[in-house]
């Protein structure tokens, strides 16, 4: 169990590049949830990407270049909240390895130690209480592999859903199976990725849920992209956006 | 050729060890659990029975009668045994006075080269044991000149006599108490049940190449 800040007043927010480009509503929802709980949010405007795409593809130098920039931007000793288990995992667990031989490794470690995935922060640092104002709905949950294994925040995410009294969480049969995104894996090994996402969408559909909730936009893009291609009626949504809608009765971008 | 390869391999490895890296974690041995005498018997019996071993708890007076009962029930024709051992002596004298249809006692007294064909036709083999391990549930066979290895392997039925006071709590305990590292024999075998496989569709099937049946007589003293 890691240590969480007690009664945080101010936090940094790292949006992530996928949120920025494709799911800004999810990013906004995360910020608003923190603000709604009395926390001041700082969003360094020069932030871009955690560097994971290059890091996983065999280009560590380029990854370091981009990572260094983010580390410099989030220099104050404040928690950094990230609405993605995958990016949080990268910055928390992989930055120290990426900068292993760097003279400024201490600065990197101090940055990494301040990284929190959104759900774990809401549950353990904010102690958030959610009041569900929405209509009854069935949802199912998918955890990104890094949220599950690196950040170990899956139970936190699911506990937030379970707080919503009109929401029924129907679990996937194979919840822990990778959806096949893997960043560039989806396009480097498209045939394998395709069968993995198909197995996932089959699982999603058999739950009978109306919505697929996840904490990672890479998985979201992958699974909901496949669901839409299959003309499934199930909608995919980021956890933060879903929670915001349920407790406020409107979209985060309203 | 082997010598040159040896030099080259060792030279490369030696160069490799000189590559400094992060400090190497020290193994933190996990202390093995110890069980009481009754717990040990119970645990051994439970675990071995789960592996389809037939286990009987007997005592010094009754084990031989239990053995007789087991052999008669199966209507076996032959039983290979170790002649120059205490076990062998007991069997020989008991067979002299025993009644009924007992299998013929066949002593394993020749070298395998002169005995192989016969051995492969014998129904059952009986051996002593060097003890057993309660967790994870296995016999310790310590073959010697007097108790050859193949007795517990070739016949389809293996009967093992185990002294209850030689059951150890764990594998580590057995190794330490008996100081294995100072006196390893040609071949020690741990045996946890009759032979089995799950190679076909992960479906468990018993009696592959080793014995189809393993019968253990635990003798309480």
């Amino acid at each position: 169990m890691r240590n969480y800040p007690d009664n945080p007043q101010k936090v940094y927010y790292f949006g992530t590049c996928l949120v920025d480009m494709f799911y800004p509503g999810a990013g906004l929802a995360g910020i608003k949830l923190l603000q709604q709980n009395g926390i001041k949010v700082i969003f360094p405007s020069q932030q871009t990407c955690c560097g994971q795409p290059a890091y996983n593809s065999g280009f560590p130098d380029e990854a370091r270049t981009v990572a260094r920039k983010q580390i410099e931007l989030f220099y104050k000793d404040l928690p950094i909240v990230v609405p993605s288990g995958s990016c949080a995992g990268m910055m928390r667990h992989h930055y120290p390895k990426l900068f292993e031989n760097d003279p400024r490794i201490d600065q990197v470690i101090s940055f990494s130690e301040r990284i929190f995935e959104l759900s774990e922060f809401l549950v353990h640092a904010v102690n958030i209480k959610l009041e569900d104002h929405g209509l009854p709905i069935n949802v199912t949950w998918h955890s990104s592999c890094h949220a599950l294994r690196e950040m170990a925040v899956t139970e936190d995410s699911k506990s937030l859903i379970r707080q919503l009294k009109n929401v029924e969480l129907v679990e996937l049969q194979r919840e822990q199976d990778c959806c096949g995104f893997g960043g560039t894996f989806a396009v480097k090994q498209p045939a394998i990725s395709a069968v993995m996402v198909k197995d996932k969408t089959d699982d999603v559909r058999q739950t009978g849920a109306e919505r697929l909730i996840t904490g990672d936009c890479g998985c979201l893009m992958n699974i909901s992209g496949a669901l839409q291609y299959e003309n499934a009626s199930i909608k995919g949504q980021h956890l933060a956006e879903f929670i915001w809608e349920r407790i406020n009765g409107e979209s985060s971008t309203a | 050729m082997s010598e040159q390869s040896r030099q080259r391999i060792l030279a490369r490895l030696a160069a490799g060890t000189r590559q400094a890296s992060a400090p190497i974690p020290q193994p933190d041995p996990i202390p093995a659990r110890t069980y009481s005498r009754t717990e040990k018997i119970e645990k051994l019996k439970t675990l071995m029975e789960a592996m389809r071993t037939e286990v009987h708890v007997t005592d010094a007076q009754n084990w031989i009668h239990k053995l007789e009962e087991i052999l008669k029930k199966r209507k076996l024709k032959s039983l290979v045994y170790p002649p120059q051992t205490t076990l062998g002596g007991i069997l020989e004298s008991h067979w002299e006075s025993a009644e009924g249809n007992l299998p013929q006692l066949i002593p394993y007294e020749k070298e395998i080269e002169d005995f192989k064909e016969r051995l492969f036709t014998i129904d059952a083999g009986i051996t002593s044991t060097a003890g057993a391990i309660a967790d994870p549930g296995a016999l310790i066979l310590w073959p010697s000149e007097k108790e050859p290895r193949l007795m517990s392997l070739v016949p389809s039925i293996h009967i093992a006599i185990l002294q209850a006071d030689k059951i150890f709590s764990s594998f580590l305990e057995a190794m330490h108490k008996e100081k294995w590292s100072t006196k390893m024999p040609t071949n020690v075998v741990l045996i946890s049940g009759p032979s089995k496989t799950a190679d076909i569709e992960m479906t468990l099937a018993f009696g592959v190449h080793g014995p189809r049946e393993l019968i253990v007589l635990i003798v309480e003293t």
């Binding site: 949006g15 590049c17 906004l28 910020i31 700082i42 969003f43 405007s45 932030q47 871009t48 290059a54 593809s57 065999g58 270049t65 981009v66 390895k97 294994r149 990778c178 893997g182 960043g183 560039t184 480097k188 045939a191 990725s193 069968v195 993995m196 198909k198 893009m221 496949a226 291609y229 | 390869s5 391999i9 490369r12 490895l13 933190d28 996990i30 093995a32 675990l47 592996m51 395998i112 064909e117 000149e145 050859p148 193949l150 392997l153 594998f171 590292s181 390893m184 040609t186 071949n187 075998v189 032979s195 089995k196 496989t197 076909i200 569709e201 992960m202 099937a205 009696g207 592959v208 190449h209």
Partner: protein, 476 residues
Amino acid sequence: MANHQPLDFEKNVARAINDKQLIKNIKSAMNTLVLKRKNIFSDAAETERLRTLGNATKSQALSKLPELLERLETKCTENGIQVHWAETIPEANQLVLDIMKSHGATRLVKGKSMVSEEMELNAYLQKHGIEALETDLGEFIIQLNHETPAHIIVPAIHKNRDQISKIFHDHIPGAPYTDNVDELNAIARKTLRQKFEKADVGLSGVNFAVAETGTLCLVENEGNGRMCTTVPGVHIALMGLEKVVEKLEDLPPMLRLLIGSATGQLITTYVNMITSPRKPGEKDGPKEVHLIILDNGRSKIYADPQRRKTLYCIRCGTCLSHCPVYNRIGGHAYGYIYPGPIGKILNPQVEGLEAAGVLATASSLCNACEEVCPVKIPIPELIRRIRNESYSKDPASMVAGHGYKSNWIESLVWKLWAIANTRPLINAAGIKVLGALGLKLPKVGPLKLWTRNRKAPELAPQSLHELVKHIGVDNE
């Protein structure tokens, strides 16, 4: 590896994915193995302690590898075991052949040995007129069908009972057609029993070699290992040089890890610890025992502190069982003897990146393997290392074939990516341009592949950067 066809991974994957029966068999079996492992390692804290111990034991042993191998050799020799060293596969095969020939032997019975598969020993011996017969049931099945193993632990797992009954019926004289598993086993037992009796030489692998006592430890469920190492007059044991452990007391935890991970058991039916050939006065056991220590690229892997961790592997196969990619393509698609996650890091390092580097791309880096590896090999980290080496032109790199993937397009793409992501104005401008193109992102390259079975992602009209300007967040 001798006469290896170049790996056409894409073709292998396509073939495997379209083989519905294969994938059904694999998934079902792997599901069973995963559940069995979970069941036997149900105490999370204890399992974690055990895995940490396994990792430390292997790290320590490997840190002294040359010293331990020499100690092993000395003790084995004292005990009467003849030790041979083979740098390459041809050398190792030659050693086996020489031993066979010195006894005028033409029949070899084999216990399961992945090293012997690595050597392609059976084919080599067959060329020299020697029958090498597999006795492990799974290996026996695939040998009859002229295949290589599909999984490290359960070689014939890609076949169901119908397929196996057909193989037996077609290849074993007199074998009736039956899909009853017990009956199939009985056929194998009967056939192989005759072979055990008549064999001149027996061969086995080695799960762990103990330097302290010169002991070869071998685990099995069927009894064929004992048959091969006890009945014939000669026993040849093959081991990779990384299999040595220091002390006898290292065995209990390592065996618990290996057996629990491989088959979900507390212990196998048999655990053999062989320390010498037949001693004077003993009536059975081989009169000659040979140990062949194989290098085949391991000593080169050893030299790199990070890549050395590849050698921690105890060949339990659990990474395969848990891998979502292995579960979708089976073992043969990988093209080399070691499939799955361990194969993705081992094969490229042994065979060279040009030959096998593609295997490192066949991972979504989901970490399922790392989570269960009994000796905590950081497999995803090593996959990334192989990927890095695939592009790296660093002259100091010791990985054969490094930089083979290096090309100006990808180099340029990532350089531009780095520029865009460190110059926020360029990043923002770029996103705006892409946003203006909206749904008309050109479906080429990656996007073309993506949209084969997914709807293309849509760029949001306003980025998060722009949206936050309206909700009272600070920049600093």
